[in-house]
Amino acid sequence: MGFLPNIGPAEFLSQLLVGFSRAMILFTVCAGLSFVLGVLRVPNIAHGSLYMIGAFVTFSLSKSFGGSSGFWFALLLAPLVVAGISLVAERGLFRHLYQREHLMLLLFTFALALILGDLVKIFWGAEYRSVPAPDILKGSISILGASFPRYNLFLIFIGLLVAVALWLFVNRTKIGKISRAAAVDRDMVALLGINVSRVFAGAFVIGCCLAGLGGALVAPTVSITLGMDHTLIIEAFLIVTIGGLGNMWGALVGSLIFGVTQSLGVLIFPQFAIVFPFAAVVIVLLLRPKGLLKSVW
């Protein structure tokens, strides 16, 4: 590898693991986006804003609980707060629009994103915030000679947990099966006497809850600021697209591609690291325009 100077196996490995942990945060958020996209057929731009709200709520909660355990409370409560916000938005506004065209729904969610973004500005201001990781997850351990932050290992663990929980939810519970059926043919599900509107509300809240969880998980690793919603949502849309719209495993595959190409891109060409994942997305879409895995649409 003559064109890659100064990269030892240890650096490569640690960068790869950083990529995996980044991918797991992306997966948590994108699984929610993909779920909403699959069941409601709505590309929810406000998803990024909910992720940002999750991060800011985590900041406030872990500060007010204080100490090392504050983060754990925040990690549990932040997704619930976000779920509450999304429930209000869905029942209050969103459900009246399901009959409209996609474009209108898209613009509606953008309007929601504008409003939520400014509300965050009102509540938390424009400063940079940071959340300390809990003591037990501070520091790093070495794996095969590569030093690796404990928090990132925790992220990988949580990401796998989310994947398993989602799989169980979608395949083993009744409401999961109903929502999958509603994704394929909502009229048929309604004919069977199931309240589709309520299924939609549930799916929307679950999806948004995952956005909040993603925001809470990312909080200790980045500086929390306005605008983090804008960078995330475009990445999330691309991930969901390359995975196959509405396919949860596609979201996992897409997140891994996105996270790993970005972190390895840092090794190869640091200045253009953000270009690599976009290029990877373009290559995937040119080869398979409808995504890698089967779309539910």
Binding site: A111, D118, I234, F278, V281
Partner: protein, 320 residues
């Protein structure tokens, strides 16, 4: 948009409006001249998008990139080469249209949301490169203080230039929409399957429309540089793309001049509400939600519906 080629009342009104705007600059403060210029640039951008979305029915989600490509092309030619200014002014739209051709060539194979998603990802790649390539594009700083030819040295002369180019583009876009090509495009929007069945090459028409639309977006980019003398990567960011969408929605998708009105409302709102509060996007968001609920055909569409056809045909066009 069917029917007779020229509605004399509307044409007369447009011409009088054009004359008034042309004579305006000596009588109003400099700041208003600048804001009007910005409104013209933005309305040309919104109209170029509306050609694709409102009349073509394509999900051109990331239209701002072509605006940015046009603007950056001018900025780079003027700052990095010694070519004359007119080369830059013509090169900007051509480069934007070329980018549109390449991206559109891939996108027209798909429909609806898949079209939009592929479009976003290809365009985001361009954004990411512009955003990061410090040596060439200035990265996230952008390029400032772009030298302009002498005839554009004052704000008023830039204003005249922008207004005249806008008027010409307006006229050209109108002719394009009234041409057989324009009718075919709208037929494709309303029923692509039937168009294919009667022997229309749907993809080729859509691709042509994309090239035309991105060309005019490139012109808008050139005009932006004429007005601002600087470029920055936010011109290619997806948030701007959605703002253009909002302008089209505000004005009305299925009207010709609606997007101009939407652009004027949005720019005016940002300027004047932005003076009093930093939360102007909150107000824009609330306005947008009210609009989606109560006025889905837009301000212009609503008034045209009330005054002319009493909404006849509007309903069918809304739900293709």
């Amino acid at each position: 948009m069917s029917g007779k080629l020229l509605d004399f009342k509307a044409a007369g009104f447009t011409f009088v409006l054009f004359l008034i705007l042309l004579l305006l600059p000596p009588f109003i403060p400099r700041f208003f001249v600048y804001i009007l210029g910005l409104i013209y640039v933005t309305s040309l951008l919104a109209m170029s998008l509306n050609l694709l979305v409102g009349h073509g029915g394509m999900y051109q989600f990331h239209h701002a990139v072509f605006y940015g490509v046009g603007a950056y092309a001018v900025a780079l030619i003027l700052t990095k080469t010694s070519l004359p200014a007119w080369v830059a002014f013509i090169g900007g739209p051509i480069l934007a249209a070329l980018t549109g051709l390449i991206i559109g060539w891939f996108c027209v194979r798909l429909t609806r949301l898949y079209f939009g998603m592929l479009q976003i990802s290809l365009c985001s790649l361009i954004w990411a490169i512009v955003y990061r390539w410090y040596k060439f594009t200035g990265g996230d700083d952008g390029i400032h203080g772009i030298p302009m030819p002498r005839f554009l040295s004052s704000l008023n002369s830039s204003y005249y230039f922008i207004l005249i180019v806008l008027a010409l583009s307006f006229f050209l876009l109108y002719l394009i929409l009234k041409s057989p090509f324009g009718s075919t495009l709208q037929a494709i929007r309303d029923n692509p399957q039937r168009c294919e069945a009667v022997g229309i090459n749907v993809r080729r028409h859509q691709l042509r429309a994309i090239v035309i639309g991105t060309f005019f977006a490139g012109i808008a980019g050139v005009l932006f540089v004429v007005l601002e003398r600087s470029v920055f990567p936010d011109l290619l960011f997806w948030v701007l793309s959605l703002e253009i969408f909002i302008m089209c929605l505000l004005g009305g998708w299925f009207t010709f001049a609606g997007p101009m009105l939407g652009a004027a409302i949005t720019v005016a709102l940002r300027t004047f509400v932005g003076k009093y509060t930093e939360y102007w996007t909150l107000i824009l968001g609330v306005l947008l939600i009210l609009l989606i609920f109560f006025l889905p055909e837009g301000v212009m569409g609503y008034f045209l519906g009330v005054f002319k056809s009493r909404g006849k045909g509007m309903a069918e066009r809304r739900n293709p």
